[in-house]
Symmetry: C2
Subunit: 210 residues, 2 copies
């Protein structure tokens, strides 16, 4: 008598609809401001109505979509003020642990960071915008993890999602992308040199001008 669902289903089926919708918002498939009709989502993600509703409620809690009673949910578009304020929060958190990052970084970590930064560079040329976006996330996640504060890493990951509705489109020009790339390497150099002040400076510029 073999149990088909051992305990948490297989890993592939385990992904929640919330993440699917979230992903489509991040990649810009679901445009900022657009209305998310429950029937459409139901069909698009091949799931039931209650699942859609739970996902929408969760995303509304995380302020990625906005709920208007009896009207439905639409993709949230942060105004300039909110975006600026969130950027400032990121600056505070990420520069605040710069010294910890520098202190904890082993030569192996630095090597890994260089590899991830290079991967970002490669994606500028060869990858899709989504791959570029993900390479960027991976780099920043790896760097921030060095601070040793797991909760902080989670928090930054969460609020980064709120920064721009369609983060894929955040790099408007090619020049801006390449500037980002340079800043990545600049951060690594600062870490390698043990220069926390330089790291803080690079991080601040990097976040503020996105």
């Amino acid at each position: 008598m073999n149990k088909l669902k051992p305990r948490g289903e297989n890993a592939a089926t385990a992904v929640d609809v919330t993440d699917l919708i979230l992903n489509d918002i991040q990649t810009g498939v679901l445009a900022p401001g657009s209305w998310l009709k429950q029937i459409d989502l139901e069909r698009r993600y091949q799931c039931t109505r209650p699942e859609v509703r739970r996902a929408l409620d969760r995303l509304a809690q995380r302020r990625l979509v906005e709920h208007v009673p009896n009207r439905g949910y639409h993709v949230f578009e942060p105004d300039g003020r909110q975006a600026a304020e969130i950027s400032e929060i990121r600056v505070l958190l990420e520069t605040g642990v710069a010294d910890k990052v520098v202190a904890n970084a082993s030569s192996l970590d630095i090597q890994a960071l260089r590899s991830l930064a290079s991967r970002f560079d490669r994606m500028i040329l060869e990858g899709t915008p989504i791959q570029l976006y993900e390479a960027n996330l991976t780099f920043h996640h790896r760097l921030l993890s060095l601070c040793g504060n797991e909760e902080l890493v989670n928090l930054v990951t969460e609020i980064r999602q709120r920064t721009s509705s369609a983060p894929v489109a955040q790099w408007k020009t090619r020049a801006r992308i390449e500037q980002s790339s340079r800043e990545h390497h600049e951060m690594i150099d600062a870490i390698a040199a043990g220069d926390a002040a330089a790291l803080r400076d690079a991080i601040t510029r990097h976040i503020r001008q996105n």
Copy 2:
């Protein structure tokens, strides 16, 4: 033909079950680690099953309760590491805007803060632990609001809820409470003196030793 529900019901009925449960967790009525049975909540708050479930899901998203599939939800108890990490995050955010707070504070704001700090002092003697807790929240909220970053205020309010499961019980001794009181006045003095460094120092000590 009078409409009994004008647009969003009357303000009293509008409070969500989520807030009710949250409040009972904060005040320690629902003890850390205890299981939240849906039937009990349903009866306790006079609401329907789906309402209970939505509330539990929201609280689980905010990591105030933990969800174990097919077992239910229980009040989350943060371990020492998590509590310490969250405190560090608060230190970074609240000290990070100390200069802004000092810069923006008018004499009227300072007056208001003194009033709120006094209210806290009064609650030590005359109030219930819950009133004391709320007076403390009000004071900190008012102070932090001076930074001008609305998103940051919201964020701190949110993560403060995650710090301790039963925040009412956070002040273990009378001595600790009175120390908190002194630190409140210390913060105000620093603001009045325009001394951002002193404010940062007071905030750091205040958060770390809770």
